[in-house]
Subunit: 246 residues, 2 copies
């Protein structure tokens, strides 16, 4: 595939400047919670263009293997993380004449949420450098390849926005979790404290969780463990989380 070619070979193979159709790819913002932070998976580019810069994982559609766009996304997710499909959502497409040095290109951005301990990093045979990086740090200090900074921003905004009125963060936790852990996850993504009672009421009333019967013990009162009901994973609340008023 394209990835193994040098730029010159690539240009020759695709004869890009003769085309009047754009190159189309898929890029992913794969989020997880690690060390109390929201982190995103980055790959160091091994080829031209933007060689050596960190980038969102992604690549070209494989017309043989992939039947649909989401097949491509699932394949990429699997290649980079070794897991599949906890949560995958198409976010937005970015296309312009100058976002890629190779010419007019379009990329379809996907957002994925995965549980930290599912991860077997860099199961990719191409042995690129792969790493988790704090989203905050990436957005403030780093210079990503192509327009990946903008793509990450949009995916991050989408995540923050959806967390307001859905139970999405459940996908960032292992199958069993306590309500406090879930609340912490919401707080990390939203970046604001969430009121305990309101939070618990919302989640419980939404009727998407069930008690597993187990308890999480520590050096204090044990907490009930919950898992998501088989049916509903994401569920819409009637209002968004409003956070403290004063």
């Amino acid at each position: 595939m394209a990835k193994e070619l040098t730029e010159k070979q690539f240009l020759k193979r695709y004869d890009i400047h003769e085309f009047d159709i754009p190159l189309t790819s898929v890029d992913m913002a794969i989020f997880t919670i690690r060390g109390g932070e929201l982190q995103v998976l980055l790959v160091k580019r091994a080829q031209h263009p933007s060689k050596g810069l960190w980038a969102l994982p992604g690549g070209f559609i494989d017309l043989k293997k992939d039947r649909t766009l989401s097949d491509t996304a699932h394949r990429k997710l699997l290649e980079k993380t070794g897991v599949d499909t906890p949560y995958l959502e198409q976010v937005e497409s970015f296309g312009s004449a100058d976002r890629d040095a190779r010419g007019w290109s379009v990329t379809v951005a996907y957002l994925a949420l995965i549980t930290c301990d599912d991860i077997v990093l860099a199961a990719d045979e191409s042995s690129e450098e792969v790493t988790w990086m704090s989203v905050e740090k990436v957005e403030q200090e780093m210079d990503l390849a192509f327009d990946h900074q903008a793509i990450l921003d949009v995916c991050h905004d989408r995540l923050k926005n959806k967390v307001q009125y859905t139970s999405l963060p459940i996908n960032l936790l292992p199958t069993e979790f306590t309500l406090t852990e879930l609340q912490k996850t919401f707080e990390i993504i939203l970046g604001i404290p969430v009121e305990k009672k309101s939070f618990r009421r919302r989640i419980l009333d939404a009727d998407i969780l069930e008690e597993t019967g187990g308890m999480k013990t520590g050096s204090n009162r044990p907490a009930k463990l919950y898992s998501t009901k088989p049916e509903g994973v994401k569920h819409f609340f009637s209002r968004s989380i409003e956070g403290p008023r004063r």
Copy 2:
């Protein structure tokens, strides 16, 4: 451009089955309110594939003219309707091996809202047949080209959803309108009646409209005319429109 070619010429020109990159296009669901209905703009396909079937307007990216994807969308909107940019939003991309008989293809779907009387239909030099059609009718009875039925569904859902918590329908009205006209527009899109007092409070409290000073007279009490404030066009409400409870 591609449009003037026969399938055979097209295949030859693009040598499609040699590529391992997909064809990428833009398709649009252009909505308006006409005759008390939500209607969508359709174009009759003059070429293979799906020749003779109605389709959403759209086409390939023009790598010379368009700098970005939204340029392509704006251009298509202008070509078909003679107007530009009252409201344009990217919705979702659809890509698969079999959505287009020509091979693997990706299309980026856009949603546009325009005011009915802005419209100068079929300003397109290619003199295709262009028409407005009731969305309800299209979704129930018609067979659109490619996967355009699915694309329309997604765009329609997005519209209905956004209307719940934004002032989006303002873009379907002329610059001056009465609150009752705006309410009617919401009701047409939502398909349910909306309570007058709550609606007016919501809209007025959102502080996105200003009185123009003019009045709309008829054979009854005249109504104040409003226009959108220069700053805010779309604005988010804190809750969605709930409609009648019983």
